[in-house]
Amino acid sequence: MDILHSIFVAPFIDMGAYPDFLLQVIWEGFVAGVLYSLIALGFVLIYKASGVFNFAQGIMVVFAALVLVSLHEMGMPAWVAVLVSVVVMGLLAIGVERFVLRKLVNQHDAILLMATIGLTLVLKGSGQLIFGGEPKPMITRELGLPTGASDWEVFGGVVIFQHIDIAATVVALLMVLALAVFFSKTRIGRALRAVADDHQAALSVGISLHQIWAIVWFAAGIVALVTGIMWGARSEVSFALEIIALKALAVLILGGFTSIPGAIVGGLVIGIGEKLFEVYWGALFGSGVEAWFAYVLALIFLLFRPQGLFGERIIERV
C-alpha cells in the first residue's frame, strides 16, 4: 500500500502543495524538450528527404558549435564566425552527399544507418583532433544572446526564467516557422517534398536527387548549428552532448520519423515527462532516472503505436 501511495498519491499531493515548484519543473522540462525537438528536427529533415536515419546529427551539433567557438577564439568577430560555420556545414553536407550517400543509393536502411555511425566516428575524431577534447564555453554574449534571469511571482512562490531559455524557445519557434515556409513556399522546398514523397517520380520530373540531398544535409547542418549555440549557451560545448543527443532518437519514436510536428510534440513530451518523473517519482527508484526514462517511454509507446504519434501508417506489402 505504501508503494502504491507513493506512486499514485504522494507525487500529486506534492504538485498541488507547491504549484510554483511544479511550474518551474515543467518550464525546465519544456526548455530541455525544445532542445530535444531541435535535434530531432535535424533527423526528420534528412530522413524525410533521403530515407537516411542520420545517427550523426548529435555529433553534428557538437561539431558545428565547436567550429563556431574555435573560429571566435582565433579572433574572428562573432557574426563572421557564424557565417563561416554555416559555410563549413555546407561543405560538410556536400562532402557527405558526394562521398557517402551517392555511393550508397538504394541500400538497405540499416546499412545507411551504419554509414552514419561511421560518419559520427569521423566527425568525433576530427573534431577532437582539430579543436581538442575539452569543453569550451559558448560565446553567448558576443552573439548578442541574453543572459541573466527574471523572476515571476505566481501561486505564492517564485518561478525563475533564464533569459537564454526564453531565447532558445523563441529561436526554435522561428526556425520551425522558417522551415515550414521554406518547405511550402519555395521552389526548393517543394522539390524536397517531392523527393520525400517518391524518389523515382521526383527524378522523372527533373529534380536532381544529389542536389536535394546536399541541400537537406545543409539544412540539417544549420539546424545543428542553432541547436549547438542554444545548448552550448545553457551549459557548455562538449562531446558529452553527443550522448544526450541520442535522446532525440526516443523523441523520434514518439513523434514518428517523418513528421516535423511530431518531432516538436515528441520533444516536449519527453522533456517535460522526464523532468516530472525525475523530480516526483525519481526518489522511488533512486535518482538518475533521466538517463533511461525517454527510451523506456518510447519503448512502451512503440508497443501500442509503432508508427509514432504523427507518423505515416506502416503498411507491410509482400
Binding site: 540499416a110 575524431g125 512503440l302
Partner: protein
C-alpha cells in the same frame, strides 16, 4: 591451386554434412588451433597474451553474440555493452554466493541471466523492426547501465561501485584474480571461445539458425513457410545475449579484473558493432577478423609513428583511430558490405582457380 578440392569425394551423408567439408580447411583450422593452444602459450610474451590475445578473444565472443542477432537474425542491436554487463555482474554475484563452484561453470551459467535480459528487451522486436528496434535496444543499454550504478546489491555495496574479481582456483591453480598468470587465463578463454564458436557454428547451420536467416531475409515469407516469428526472434535474442553475457563475464574475470559501469557503456556497444560490420555480417569468421582488426588497429596506429620517429600524444592517436575506423566503416559499407570475411572468401575463390582464372571449377 592451394584450394583445389578435386579428388575429394564425399561418400557418405555424414561427410557431405561435415562442418568443414574441404581437406585444406581442416588442415588450416587444425594448424590455427595448434598455434592457439600450444604455440602462443609456449612462445608468446606475457604482454602479447595479456594485451592482445585475451582482449581479442573476448571481443570475438561478443562479436559472435552480436553477429547472431544482427548478422544472422537481422535485428539491429545497440545494447551489446549492457548485455555484457549483465553477464559480468551475474557472474560476480554468483561467485559471491557460491565461492566453491568452479568459476568456469559460473561464467558459462551467468550468460543465462543476460539471455533472460535479452529476451525481455527483445519482446518489442515482435511488433517493430529495423531502426525502431535499434532505438529500443538503446532503452536496454541505458536502463541496464543505470541498474549497474543504482542497485548497490549488484556490486556487494562496495564504496567504489566497482566489482573486484576474487581469486578462484581450479586444481590449485589460480585462474582469476590478481595472482592468475596471463597464460592460464588465456588457456581458459581460448577453450571457452573455441567451444562456444563450435556450438555457434552448428546452431547457425542447423534448424534454428536457418529460421533466423529466413526471418532476416524476409520475415513475412518466413512466417508463411511456418517459422514462428515469436520463437525465432526471441531465441535469437536469447542466444545472442547469452554469448554477449559470457563475453562480458570473461572480460571482467579473465581480462580487466575489476569493472565499473563505464566498462559496459554505449561506446562499448558501438565497438562491438564496428567489429561485426568490418568483419562481415552473417559470418563467424568475420567476428574473429573484425575483432582482430578493430583491436589491433589502435595498437598499430600507436606503434607506427614511434617507429618512424614521430612522437604523437596518446589522445591524438585515439582520435586518429576514431577517424580511421569511421572511414573504414564507410569504405567497407560502400565497397564490400560483407566485410573482411567476404574478402577472404573472394581470395579463396581466386586460389581455387589459380593459375587459370577463367577455368570453370
Amino acid at each position: 591451386m592451394l584450394y583445389r578440392e578435386a579428388g575429394q569425394f564425399k561418400t557418405s551423408y555424414a561427410a557431405d554434412q561435415a562442418l568443414l567439408p574441404i581437406l585444406q580447411d581442416r588442415i588450416g583450422l587444425s594448424l590455427i588451433l595448434l598455434v592457439a593452444f600450444v604455440g602462443i602459450p609456449l612462445l608468446a610474451t606475457d604482454f602479447f597474451i595479456g594485451s592482445v590475445m585475451i582482449p581479442f578473444l573476448v571481443f570475438s565472443l561478443a562479436a559472435i553474440g552480436l553477429n547472431i542477432l544482427t548478422g544472422y537474425a537481422g535485428q539491429l542491436s545497440l545494447g551489446t555493452g549492457a548485455f555484457m554487463g549483465v553477464g559480468a555482474y551475474a557472474c560476480y554475484k554468483l561467485t559471491t554466493y557460491f565461492p566453491d563452484i568452479n568459476i568456469i561453470l559460473l561464467i558459462l551459467f551467468s550468460g543465462v541471466f543476460s539471455a533472460a535480459a535479452g529476451v525481455l528487451f527483445g519482446l518489442p522486436s515482435l511488433r517493430i523492426k529495423g531502426l525502431y528496434l535499434a532505438i529500443t535496444t538503446l532503452a536496454a543499454q541505458f536502463f541496464l547501465e543505470w541498474c549497474f550504478i543504482r542497485i548497490a546489491w549488484l556490486y556487494n555495496y562496495n564504496d567504489s561501485g566497482a566489482i573486484e574479481v576474487p581469486t578462484r582456483k581450479l586444481l590449485d591453480i589460480a585462474i582469476t584474480g590478481a595472482s592468475a598468470t596471463p597464460v592460464v587465463r588465456y588457456l581458459v578463454i581460448i577453450s571457452v571461445v573455441t567451444l562456444m564458436a563450435l556450438v555457434a557454428a552448428n546452431v547457425l547451420r542447423g534448424r534454428i539458425g536457418r529460421s533466423w536467416m529466413m526471418i532476416r531475409d524476409m520475415d513475412i515469407a518466413a512466417e508463411l513457410m511456418g517459422i514462428r516469428p515469436l520463437r525465432a526472434k526471441l531465441s535469437a535474442f536469447a542466444f545472442s545475449s547469452y554469448y554477449c553475457g559470457v563475453a562480458g563475464a570473461l572480460m571482467v574475470f579473465m581480462w580487466i579484473g575489476s569493472a565499473e559501469v563505464e566498462s559496459f557503456d554505449i561506446n562499448h556497444s558501438f565497438l562491438v558493432l564496428f567489429m561485426v560490420i568490418i568483419g562481415g555480417m552473417g559470418s563467424l569468421l568475420g567476428c574473429f577478423l573484425g575483432a582482430a582488426f578493430i583491436w589491433v588497429l589502435p595498437i598499430i596506429i600507436r606503434a607506427v609513428p614511434q617507429l618512424i620517429g614521430l612522437d604523437l600524444l596518446a589522445a591524438t592517436t585515439e582520435h586518429l583511430t576514431n577517424i580511421i575506423i569511421g572511414v573504414l566503416i564507410i569504405f567497407f559499407l560502400i565497397v564490400e558490405p560483407h566485410g573482411l570475411a567476404r574478402l577472404w572468401q573472394l581470395g579463396k575463390e581466386k586460389l581455387r582457380t589459380w593459375p587459370f582464372p577463367y577455368a570453370s571449377n
